[in-house]
């Protein structure tokens, strides 16, 4: 049998108040073993208080070939940033 063990992406919450962050991936037969393996591999020194695992195959990603179309248009929309607007100094911090 040359069936391969599925790949899982691992997300860890470093501490309460912060969101889960992607830290890497792990191979495991099922979700129970994936959480266990993620704990052993990615939290040996107090790196987190909570783990999420998601099957890598279940992740839907944006198309890298469309990165330009998707993300470049924001570059010329500088009016979305506060610094675009001029407020006289006398008005004070705003």
């Amino acid at each position: 049998m040359t069936q391969t063990t599925p790949l899982w992406e691992v997300f860890i919450r470093p501490r309460n108040g912060l969101s889960h962050k992607h830290v890497g991936s792990i191979h495991a037969a099922d979700e129970v073993m994936a959480v266990q393996a993620a704990r052993d591999v990615y939290t040996r020194r107090g790196e987190g208080t909570s783990i999420w695992v998601v099957r890598s195959a279940d992740i839907v990603a944006s198309d890298p070939d469309q990165a330009g179309e998707n993300f470049e248009p924001t570059a010329d929309k500088i009016y979305r940033h506060p610094t675009f607007y001029e407020i006289p100094e006398e008005v004070g911090h705003m």
């Binding site: 391969t4 890497g24 037969a29 052993d40 040996r44």
Partner: protein, 327 residues
């Protein structure tokens, strides 16, 4: 590991000059390359080779030290050694997953290690004869690994750089626990000090060989440097390591087994004696004293673990079908 990771790498590539120039421009601008980005085939192949061999080195590196876990002289030493060996297993796993983002499977890499097609660091083909070897490995071998790995944290390939940042955070404890072991022996009875000196005598030259061939003989370095897979040359890193290590040995009252080692005022660094490159290549090619055992042990672990992997998959499948039936 590390500088030797490039051994056997093939950076040749067939893309148009225009594509290569555009890629080089991104590299020169210190942009990180992520797995789904367009990249030259040679870049991808070089990284698969290097990251895979680095991962193998971490995993095979567990064997010489694992050899001493049950015989550690105290509970404190045993707990530390267990934690260190477990870390090395973790390093191997971070690295395998970084390589997998480039489209190579874990099984493929394992297969290449077992068949001898992929290499691992020559250092792990030497035997660990006494407890002092465990101290010397932490001090010198992990010390050399740190020298090599710190610049890799800035490698142009994102997943490799991120894996290296995790690894580097963990390595410092490895070197310090090793130095502490050697220090305890060096300050102990004359027999204990002699044991530390004997281990240093056996590990010194293999440790400085870890940085790989001299720059003039290192075929893969130029392209890897241009692509910022590698940041310093083999000789530069070796020099840094020697300059850092000599005073540490002096502090312990141990002698580095190189009669030609002397301070060079002009270059503000140490000159060292001739390295036996014939021995290096023999060991890299698998003729080291322990080479056959290492691969035999890896294969045995893989083969004897097959039923566990199969049972876990069968169990997962059973749970999945039961769950589906219940829905």
């Amino acid at each position: 590991m590390y500088s030797q990771g490039l051994i056997g790498a093939d950076g040749s590539t067939t893309e148009t000059q225009e594509f290569l120039d555009a890629f080089q421009k991104r590299i020169d601008a210190e942009e990180k390359i992520e797995p789904t980005d367009a990249m030259p085939e040679g870049y991808r192949r070089t990284l698969v080779r290097q990251i895979g061999q680095h991962a193998h080195s971490e995993i095979v590196g567990m064997l010489p030290e694992g050899n001493w876990i049950t015989r550690a002289p105290s509970l404190r030493r045993k707990a530390a050694l267990l934690a260190k060996v477990q870390d090395e297993g973790g390093h191997g796993l971070y690295l395998y997953s970084a390589a997998e983002t480039l489209g190579v499977s874990r099984e493929q890499m394992t297969e290449e290690l077992h068949s001898g097609k992929a290499k691992y660091s020559s250092i792990f083909n030497y035997p660990t004869l006494t407890w002092a070897d465990i101290g010397i490995i932490g001090w010198l071998v992990d010390g050399a690994a740190i020298m090599n790995q710190i610049p890799l944290c800035r490698c142009s390939f994102g997943p490799y750089a991120r894996a290296m940042i995790r690894v580097c955070k963990e390595e410092s404890f490895h070197q310090r626990q090793g130095y502490e072991i050697v220090m305890t022996l060096a300050q102990g009875t004359p027999e204990q000090k002699a044991m530390a000196q004997d281990a240093l005598n056996r590990w010194w030259w293999p440790s400085i060989m870890m940085f790989g061939p001299h720059d003039a003989d290192s075929q893969h370095s130029d392209q890897s440097m241009a692509w910022k897979i590698k940041r310093f040359s083999n000789d530069e890193l070796r020099q840094k390591f020697i300059d850092a290590t000599v005073p540490q040995a002096e502090y312990l009252g141990l002698t580095i087994p190189d009669p030609d080692l002397k301070w060079n005022e002009e270059k503000q660094g140490y000159d060292h004696g001739r390295i036996d490159w014939d021995e290096f290549w023999r060991v890299v090619k698998g003729h080291g004293p322990m080479a056959r055992d290492r691969i035999k042990d890896r294969k045995a672990a893989w083969d004897n673990g097959a039923w566990v992997r199969e049972a876990a998959l069968a169990h997962a499948e059973k749970r999945r079908t039961r769950k589906m039936a219940a829905e």
